[in-house]
Amino acid sequence: MNIRAIRLFAAAALFAPLLAFGQKNSCVECHSQLDDELKAPAAAFAGDIHAQFGLSCKDCHGGDPTQDDVDKAKDRSFKGAPSRQDVPQFCGGCHANVTAMRAFNPGLRTDQLSQYWTSRHGQRLKAGDTKAAVCTDCHGVHGIQTAKYPKSPTFPWNIPQTCGHCHADPEYMAAYKLPTNQLEDYKASVHADALYEKKDLSAPVCNDCHGNHGAFPPSVTSVAAVCRQCHASTGELFMKSPHKAAFDELGAGECEVCHGHHKILHPTTAMIGTDQAATCAECHDKGSVGYEVAAEFRSELDGFESGYRTAEGLLARAKSKGVEVSDAEFELQDVNTLLVSAKNLTHGLDRAEVAKAVTDGEKSLAEVRLAGEKALDEARFRRRGLAVTTALLALFGVALALKIRHMNRARRAKEGGGGSPS
């Protein structure tokens, strides 16, 4: 058997799923025998979403895959590989065609191409910058998967890395004078924590704020609108607060002024107040009303939060001692909701509303603390009860042991014919 035959056999075995369709595909047959770069498309396409829909090489690249002869296979319909500049139009040939998409996936949007041309990437490409991202930079080539597939570069937890592939590369981005720390910043954010640690796929990634096909950096006026997509109640409170007019006057970007962007850290009570770590102190000077309000909020929230931690500790200690405290733990969860809500209310800057939320929360907290203290009392009672019972049982055991020894001696004395035991 010659080498060509072995290769053909190996190719047939490797690409059996395609051959199973009963259609000859000379593109795969030949490319699978070529070296690295030319072999890769044939190898990757077996797992491509397009192959799963029954599409083959010719549907994108044209040609006649039924021909063994290369020249005949690359007939007049053969398009070959598109240049980078042509990629959006190449993919859009089907993806922007409602009729064509209806036959395969009627649920899929067909506005990606038109959106792309509105994006910064599309605008740059149109201007002749071939370094600008095209479809294949994010979706891959010949191994394309849907965004629902966890290994796909467009699956939520892969998106930061996909965007970062270019945007975190200082050399690649040098010409654009854009920062390249976004990926690093994002990974330190509360959003990344939700995505990677809590595996919350609804946590925002790059495209949730910037858009995907129509990717564009949000401007100062639209940042808050982007945040409000998820943080609706916070946005509403902010809109009613005196901060709204003040920020507008300053031309400041609302949410990101205090919370930053990309590196949006877990919001803590430490952000509110008058010390150096607090964001309020960056604008409000000592003696101003804002300064006074910030100090008041901080004091109220600190009191509430420290009470919460104490109650949490009480329950944890009681639980570690084996006392059932799940009811109190449920109540503590409710208190946590009240604490989060009180913190959120600070965005409205309404002193009375925040004070009321803290008072209500502390009332519930008092009940949980009482339950925790009772549970610890119960744990102490159990241990004391055990000590007393064990002592009584030990006494009974000693009495039994003495009685047994006495009986043994009596029996031995009887067996030996001796006198009675003492």
Partner: protein, 358 residues
Amino acid sequence: MATKIGQSVWKFLDERFMLSALVAFGKKKTVPEHRRSFWYFFGGICLFLTGIQIATGIMLLLYYTPTVEGAHESVLFIMSGVKFGWLIRSVHSWTANLLIGLLFVHMFSTFFLKAYRKPRELTWISGFLLLVLFMAFGFSGYLLPWNELSYFATRVGTDIAASLPFIGPWLKTVILGGPEVGQATLSRFFWFHVALLPLAALALIGIHVYLVQTLGMSKPVGEKSTKEISFFPDFLYKDALGWTLILVIIGVLCVFLPWEIGPKADPLSSTPIGIKPEWYFTFMFTTLKLVPAHILSFEGEKLAILAFMTGGLLWLLVPVLDRRAAREARSPVFTWIGAALALYIVTMTIVTYTVPKL
């Protein structure tokens, strides 16, 4: 004065229950005393723990609700809302586990002392059946709190039963009361646990204890000591010392390690990783996991189940099979088989809890 009242009460009871005859029987009955008579106490301890189980089980019935909606909540209430409920439930759960462990010790000690030989064949058979019954008690009782672990362990356990040849699928449906673990299963397990199994266990315990009392304790093969002590009060006092010790152990376990409830079962959630049955089933469970998928042309799991059933049957028939012991001769082959089996059970149980991702 107190002595006089005591005597009157004794006289009243004696006239009606003939207690003197019982005491006379106890005093007349003797128990052999030799260097291995320590093992005799395990039977008494098992009986004592069974008593605790009955008492605590009856108390738990006051508050337990055998419904899918209410079972977990009722156990939570017992643990947190009922005065001393935590103690009763923890005693019941810990005692159940100690009891099964000590039943294994009692069975193997009986085996190694060859106490099953004539005329005690039925004592052995009733004892082995009692162990099986108590394991069934454990299996049915495990599901009753309707928590995540017990729910999925029951699913895994009944799936194993379903793989039995011929009767498997039918048996699974009978156990579960339907295709899935649900309300019908809980009702069935509750009925098994508080009605059918207790009746069967009481009948078997009656037979077992009657045989022990009438035939007396067996002396090991070749034991030359002729020493004996009276059952009452000498042996009973020693027994009581063991009971006192086990009570202290149970108390310490219940106070420092109260039996957990765990989260409520959610049939829609995925099976937690590393789910396993109660520890006394793990030697069989791990065997089924380790056995190859196919042995020759047979399914490995089915073969292993058949092997366990055959092994159980042979173990039950040991008094008949061990002809040498029946002739009061030493039977080292059986001793080695018993030792290998004990080693196998211990090793597989340890493997279950120590080898990750088994």
